[in-house]
């Protein structure tokens, strides 16, 4: 109690009571916007308003129309993320085949594109078994604990200018805190499997997640410091001034590399895939899993990879922005920014750019997986604690100094 929250007085019933008395900030009374316009630079398409108007045209009341709208973005995002994860498994097979001079999946659909579908069908119809002498409750709970936080984190990922489920003011911090739940699931999987390789894998996974979370958070903090906001929308808008030149990757090259390395380690990708190192640990914490529970781990890991790639794109590569700002192109062509067809093109371009950047990074991750060897566990922890952590601290300090020295370029 005493050390849990230094800012909360023990005799003070309501949190932030004192704070709200002293200052009179303009409180935003509007509810969190769902796929609605969150920025005031160029409004773009407001899907929510148009959808509700459309339904009201069919004779529904405003409340009912809004209630119909509410679950839509979440369902769409969950479906889209599943598809994105499946596509990344296909990409993994194809790129690995190319790296090893094979053809890879070929006969299932065009270019073997139906392989993920076959995978899912197979895993769904397999017998859902729990091995003897496991702890059945924890054994079933663990994949969910790994899977749910990943999908929940997509709440804050903007796929386009107005295509985000909710523009929370804690933004990326939500992702960082949610991704810290996963180690508990991994430990649970390792423990409940009642298998020494599983336990070792789970412990390694947890150690790895914890060690690389700190450089990850610190490099995010440097970006947040420059954009003065944790919200992903604000972070992208701050990179929108001069097209490719204003992307954070030029201002945060060290942060970009640290973030990418740490994100790969968080996803347990190849140079850092110690928790499931086949030669040492069979398959780590997933050894005992099969069928749907294994699918949850598998889908969770690929969704996490897609999430990390999307967040690198959002934090460092300008999110949905085109390398040349669309407003500049429009003014060259003499088209008003509020023209409907231009808005449609801008919106489409936003989604395409976000996915293009994310999949480019994903491609690099897959290529890395099939080119570099695995590091040892002591090398991994050395890299995390003795190299990345100090470097990210220096990067943070440097960013703060540059922000004070050149407030124009570093978002003062």
């Amino acid at each position: 109690m005493c050390c849990s929250s230094p800012w909360e007085k023990p005799d003070n019933g309501i949190l932030f009571e004192k704070a709200s008395e002293k200052t009179s900030y303009e409180l935003s009374s509007q509810p969190p916007s769902l796929l609605s316009s969150a920025n005031n630079m160029s409004p773009g398409i407001d899907l929510q308003a148009s959808f509700i108007e459309l339904l009201e045209g069919f004779g529904l009341t405003h409340g009912v129309a809004k209630a119909v709208w509410l679950p839509l973005p979440m369902v769409i995002i969950v479906g889209a993320v599943t598809v994105l994860a499946l596509v990344s498994t296909w990409l993994e097979r194809k790129v690995s085949a190319a790296a090893q001079q094979r053809i890879g999946p070929e006969y299932m659909g065009p270019l073997g594109m139906l392989v993920p579908v076959a995978d899912v069908a197979k895993l769904l119809f397999k017998e859902n078994m729990v091995p003897a002498k496991t702890d059945p409750l924890l054994f079933s709970l663990a994949p969910l604990l790994v899977f749910i936080p990943v999908f929940l984190s997509f709440l804050i990922v903007p796929f386009g200018q107005n295509l985000v489920i909710t523009d929370l003011n804690i933004g990326v911090f939500l992702w960082i805190s949610l991704s810290s739940i996963a180690p508990i699931g991994l430990l649970m999987a390792g423990y409940s499997s009642n298998n020494k390789y599983s336990l070792l894998g789970g412990l390694r996974a947890a150690a790895q997640s914890i060690s690389y979370e700190i450089p990850l958070a610190l490099s995010v903090l440097a970006v947040v410091m420059m954009s003065n906001s944790l919200s992903t929308i604000d972070i992208v808008n701050q990179q929108a001034d001069a097209g490719i030149l204003s992307w954070n990757v030029w201002r945060q090259p060290i942060g970009f590399l640290i973030f990418w390395i740490a994100a790969l380690a968080e996803c347990e990708r190849m140079p850092f895939d110690l928790p499931e190192a086949e030669e040492e640990l069979v398959a780590g914490y997933q050894t005992e899993y099969s069928a749907v529970k294994f699918m949850l781990f598998y889908a969770g890991s690929y969704a996490n990879l897609v999430l990390s790639a999307l967040l690198v794109a959002v934090l460092y590569l300008g999110g949905w922005e085109f390398p040349i700002p669309v407003s500049l192109l429009a003014s060259w062509l003499g088209v008003s920014e509020t023209t409907p067809w231009l808005q449609v093109i801008t919106g489409t371009l936003g989604i395409v750019m976000t996915l293009f950047k994310a999949y480019l990074l994903l491609f690099i991750a897959i290529l890395l997986r099939w080119t570099v060897p695995r590091v040892r566990i002591d090398q991994l922890l050395d890299l995390g604690w003795k190299f990345l952590l100090p470097v990210s601290l220096v990067n943070l300090l440097l960013t703060a100094g540059l922000k004070l020295a050149f407030p124009v370029a570093f978002g003062g």
Binding site: C3, F16, E17, F173, I176, I184
Partner: protein, 202 residues
């Protein structure tokens, strides 16, 4: 009561039930690993309470620090300690348990009377909501600077302690069996004696 209030009430009830149930589980279950996992559930429901109080940042920080760091380290501690020991069943264990129960119930009664008797000053101001991060930052570097710095010193002390504990040299087992079999070592790990580094060494 409109929809929002109903949702709030229901989620409060669910969170409260979850928190109390999980907390009782932490205390009452005999399997320590279950207790540790349930502790995570307690922390998560606590963060849900913060969300109901319009403190999103505190809720996320609660998950990051308590679930992601503290609870994982507790689990780590439990899973890495591999000291199997056959505990002798204690005679009259129920006396111990009854005494614990009485003390806990007494504390509970004391705290509940305190909670009910205190005239809480309930502020009528709107919750600060989205501006909370800025406010917390300002408080950290103005009137709560000292507690903030003290907390970091505390963490530094804990870290140094952990390093000192982790860097001990253990004696290998075969050496142990030949030399110091006679020493009682229920709660201590056999450790090679170290010379302390003195500061005034010439």
């Amino acid at each position: 009561m409109n929809l929002a209030d109903g949702v709030q009430l229901v989620s409060f009830l669910v969170l409260a039930a979850m928190m109390i149930g999980a907390a009782l589980g932490v205390v009452l279950l005999s399997n320590i690993v279950y207790s540790a996992f349930l502790l995570g559930l307690v922390f998560i429901s606590m963060s849900g309470m913060y969300i109901l109080l319009n403190a999103g940042f505190v809720a996320a920080a609660q998950i990051l620090i308590y679930v992601g760091a503290v609870n994982v380290l507790i689990l780590f501690g439990i899973m890495l300690v591999n000291k199997r020991e056959d505990f002798v069943p204690i005679k009259n264990a129920w006396v111990n348990q009854v005494a614990t129960a009485v003390v806990c119930l007494g504390l509970f009664a004391l705290l509940s009377t305190m909670v009910l008797a205190t005239p809480w000053a309930i502020s009528s101001a709107t919750p600060i909501g989205d501006m909370a991060i800025v406010e917390i930052g300002k408080h950290f570097f103005s009137d709560y600077l000292l507690p903030f710095e003290l907390a970091s010193v505390l963490l530094l002390m804990a870290m140094i302690g952990a390093i000192v504990l982790a860097r001990r040299d253990y004696l290998p087992d075969e050496l142990l069996t030949s030399e110091r079999r006679d020493e009682p070592s229920a709660l201590t790990l056999p450790e090679r004696p170290r010379e302390l580094i003195s500061s005034n060494k010439k």
